[in-house]
């Protein structure tokens, strides 16, 4: 079964298999999902590593991501150019990290990056406010959202610098057993 496909060379498939949590079959299936987003743009033959990207609008219209409030941040974090336009590698990487086989530390690392809106390696109060807005449809008043964000920093900031570093975030994740199953997208 595995030798009949002509999309990738054997080395390419092996590399994908070793670097993601997917099996061969799943990689082929994901490739077809990727291609279905823009069939005229993506060639069927990837053996010579074409340099093509699917623009963010199409990625954000996938049924798995369409309604997700963080879809734009997810695409930005996993894309090469930081704008959400994804190559096949980015696509596979994204769903590999979000699959159920990825370990907690890896997921925590990327979740941290997703919530870090200004990309400064810390989740500060403005990042938290943006997260809150995305999660509550902008319906909390300014005072309320500020209160919530302060409460979050109080609870989670361990080294007392007024913002959450990756360690603070990981410490919180360790104590959240649900995290592995909630930070998960099935495809």
């Amino acid at each position: 079964m595995g030798n009949k496909q002509t999309i990738f060379t054997t080395q390419q498939l092996d590399a994908y298999q070793d670097c993601t949590f997917f099996t061969r079959k799943e990689i082929i299936r994901l490739f077809h999902r990727y291609r279905d987003l823009a069939p005229q743009l993506i060639p069927l033959d990837y053996t010579n590593k074409p340099d093509v990207k699917v623009p963010y609008e199409l990625i954000g219209s996938m049924p798995e991501l369409k309604e997700n409030p963080f879809r734009q941040r997810i695409a930005e974090v996993f894309s090469e150019d930081g704008e959400g336009n994804m190559t096949l590698d980015d696509f596979l990487d994204m769903f590999s990290v979000l699959s159920e086989m990825a370990p907690r530390d890896l997921k925590a690392y990327y979740a941290f990056k997703i919530y870090d809106f200004n990309n400064d390696d810390y989740i500060c109060v403005s990042d938290l406010e943006k997260t809150l807005n995305k999660l509550t449809r902008n319906e909390l008043s300014e005072d309320e959202s500020r209160l919530v964000c302060e409460k979050v920093i109080d609870e989670a900031d361990l080294d007392n610098d007024g913002r959450l570093s990756l360690e603070d975030f990981q410490h919180m994740i360790i104590r959240a057993p649900d995290f592995l199953s909630t930070f998960h997208i099935r495809i």
Partner: protein, 709 residues
């Protein structure tokens, strides 16, 4: 061979548009696991933990200003590139030293983009191949290690074989995935309703597997021998359609019932004692059930209750379910979150404003509803009991008269019971609406508790077919009737609750019932004190003619040939099962162990708080030391600049001087004092530039050394 300056990795950071695109800065992750890592997907080799803990850093972050700030620091692109490359070399060396399987897993968990991972992987493979190329032949190295490693590792060492082995493992994994039951349905349900509803269906799946296993055990040991040699039948009854509903008639004499089993010894050459087989199989099965349930309950309890966090931070950052794809569900979740957050804020602000009379009223309502629910449960019990007696009479009549109508009326009891089972939980949810509990979670727990208490006296025993049908029925009803849940449940804790519910009412109840019917204490002399067991039926079943079920075992033990052949078994029976002292001893030891472990838990909890404080203190230490470093550097500059005037170094020092520690911006205030809210503008070089500071200091030291020579 391996390329030392990979263009792909270093070109990207200097794109002027992107900023920190795929560069990730992660300080040495010193989150030391206070308990063992609770994540099972991490392999347990020591390499793995070290790799993750020590080598989080792959590349350094850029400042928000991009290349401009770099220039400020006086560090050239070269320096940073060198640093990155040396780290990469170390990583490749470490990976090349691992076994194939560990290597793959280690590469998979690297926090890098896929392209970078592929690059690292190719370098590792190149390194490995070059290592093997140096040895004389592949096989001679393999034969050296034959004595040490298993044959599978041996295959992995030989590069060519390793490839096909990995292919085999991959095929195995995909085959296993194809066999996963109900995979598509799970995805649908998870997407539409969220992970907590999905947990119920996962629980059903777990129960199904469990029941399949128990079926295999029972079938293999009890039913198969019976089918091989069926007992003599008396009063053969023809099969009529009604039997499918009533379960009586034809089925009475078949293997579906206890009465269909004989008490003879089966087989001529090796005797297969049906009595003993029946008894021991059922006890072994119950014991295994108990062990499984206790084990999974303890594990999920530890995982989900002991260390779980709660509060605003958790709600905001960890609770969002990314797998939901249904728009309505998501909207509702957002509403729930908003309401919960608002509640938590208002609670914090107002405090408990209920007056005494309000509190009393609330308490009264709670008490009332509890009485009603207990009453309902007791009432249904009584109703079922009286109905049972009436039904018994009807059954006896039907056996004498044998008309279809009287047989059909035996169905009255099950019908009524099912009706009650449907109606009462609805009543319970109605009741719970009447109360106003503080949090939605309490409400759910109360309802579940009541339903559990209700079901336990009635002792439902789940069957395999029923589960199958139940699964599909629930799915259909869910799709047709349910909206996504109004409250966002916590999936992991729900799973624990399900298992606990299964264990306490159902299993313990069943166990005590079976124990009651079976056990009988053989006291000294004919008139034994314990006669609480049930006497097995005289005419059918494997235990015909005995005074108690347990007597089968005691008779077997006292037989002559058993004593000589299996003297160890007889000894165990005489001194352990029969003696009460043994059980007292076991109970005492268990209690002591429980107390000991409880103390250990208390100690660990204390340790957790202490370590948390230590983390805070170390953060403060770090800030303090950085500040000192800055001060010392500045002092050095001023001292140096007065001495030297014509070297290129002061340029760099000037640039470094621009980095002033701004307490409010960088350290969030003076450590230890409360700080004012900031963040009107993005912060300057963050404290995370510790590494860069250290590099600067080292560079200066090197330059000073050079100058001295």
């Amino acid at each position: 061979m391996g390329c030392l300056t990979p263009p792909t990795m270093t070109v990207k950071p200097w794109k002027s548009t992107g900023g920190a695109v795929n560069i990730a800065y992660q300080m040495d992750s010193e989150v030391d696991y206070i308990t063992a890592p609770l994540d099972q997907s991490l392999p347990s080799t020591p390499h793995m933990g070290d790799l993750l803990r020590r080598r989080g850093t792959r590349k350094m972050s850029l400042f928000p200003g991009g290349g401009v700030a770099l220039g400020k620091l006086g560090m050239t692109e070269e320096d940073i590139r060198d640093e990155i490359e040396s780290e990469e070399r170390d990583l490749v060396k470490e990976l090349a030293a691992m076994s194939s399987r560990d290597q793959i897993q280690a590469i998979r968990v690297l926090p890098m983009s896929l392209e970078d991972k592929k690059h690292i992987r190719s370098q590792v493979l190149a390194t490995k191949q070059s290592k093997h190329g140096l040895q004389l032949t592949c096989c001679s190295s393999c034969s050296e290690q034959v004595s040490r490693v298993s044959s599978r590792l041996l295959l992995e060492e030989c590069g060519a074989h390793g490839h096909s082995f990995r292919k085999f493992a991959a095929n195995l994994a995909s085959a296993r995935q194809a066999l996963e039951l109900w995979q598509g349905t799970m995805k649908e349900v998870g997407g539409k309703f969220g992970t907590s509803v999905l947990s119920y269906f996962l629980f059903l799946k777990w129960l199904l597997m469990f029941n399949i296993f128990s079926f295999l055990v029972n079938f293999g040991f009890i039913t198969v021998p019976q089918l091989v040699q069926p007992p003599n039948r008396t009063n053969a009854v023809n099969f009529r359609g009604l039997e499918l509903l009533t379960g009586a008639g034809y089925f009475n004499q078949s293997v579906l019932y206890y009465g269909g089993y004989s008490d003879e010894k089966i087989g001529e050459h090796s005797e297969y004692d049906m009595q003993l087989a029946y008894f021991f199989t059922i006890s072994a099965y119950l014991v295994m059930c108990g062990v499984c349930l206790i084990y999974s309950m303890a594990r999920s309890f530890q995982r989900n209750f002991v260390l779980s966090a709660s509060g605003s931070a958790w709600q905001l950052l960890c609770s969002w379910d990314f797998s939901m794809t249904n728009e309505r569900a998501i909207r509702q979740r957002k509403n729930n979150l908003r309401v919960q957050l608002k509640e938590s804020i208002s609670e914090k602000n107002q405090g408990d404003k209920m007056t005494m009379s309000d509190k009393l009223k609330q308490f009264g309502i709670h008490l009332g509803t509890w009485f009603i629910s207990m009453g309902l449960a007791a009432g249904s019990c009584a109703a079922v009991f009286y109905l049972c007696e009436y039904n018994l009479q009807v059954i006896i009549d039907s056996q004498e008269s044998r008309s279809t109508l009287t047989e059909a009326s035996t169905l009255l009891l099950p019908f009524v019971v099912s009706l009650i089972n449907l109606v009462i939980p609805l009543l319970y949810s109605l009741l719970s609406k009447a109360e106003r509990y503080s949090g939605p979670r309490t409400k759910i727990y109360v309802i579940i508790l009541r339903i559990g208490i209700y079901f336990s006296p009635l002792l439902p025993i789940m069957q395999m077919i029923k589960l199958f049908i139940l699964f599909y029925l629930k799915k259909v009803s869910l799709n047709q009737n349910c909206q996504p849940p109004r409250r966002s449940g916590r999936a992991a804790q729900m799973q624990t609750m399900f298992i606990a519910l299964l264990f306490f009412p159902s299993f313990v109840g069943a166990l005590s019932m079976v124990g009651y019917t079976v056990w009988r204490y053989e006291g000294p002399g004919a008139g034994s004190r314990w006669t609480c067991c049930l006497k097995p039926s005289k005419h059918c079943g494997p235990f015909q003619g005995l005074n108690s079920t347990f007597q089968a075992v005691s008779l077997w033990m006292s037989r002559e040939d058993t004593v000589s052949d299996y003297s160890w078994a007889v000894w165990i029976f005489d001194n352990m099962i029969k003696s009460a002292l043994f059980f007292y001893l076991i109970t005492i030891i268990t209690l002591v162990l429980i107390y000991f472990f409880w103390q250990v838990t208390q100690g660990r909890r204390l340790l957790i708080t202490l370590l948390r404080e230590q983390i805070i203190n170390e953060g403060k230490d770090k800030a303090f030391l950085l500040d000192k470093l800055q001060k010392l550097q500045r002092e050095r500059q001023t001292a140096a600049s007065t001495q030297r005037t014509n070297t290129h170094i002061p340029q760099r020092f000037e640039r470094i001087q621009e980095i002033e520690p701004d307490y409010d911006r960088d350290f969030g205030g003076i450590p230890g004092l409360p700080h004012v809210e900031e963040n009107i503008e993005p912060p300057g070089p963050p404290v995370a530039s510790a590494l860069i500071q250290a590099m600067i200091a080292r560079r200066q030291a090197e330059e000073e050394e050079e100058e001295e020579y």
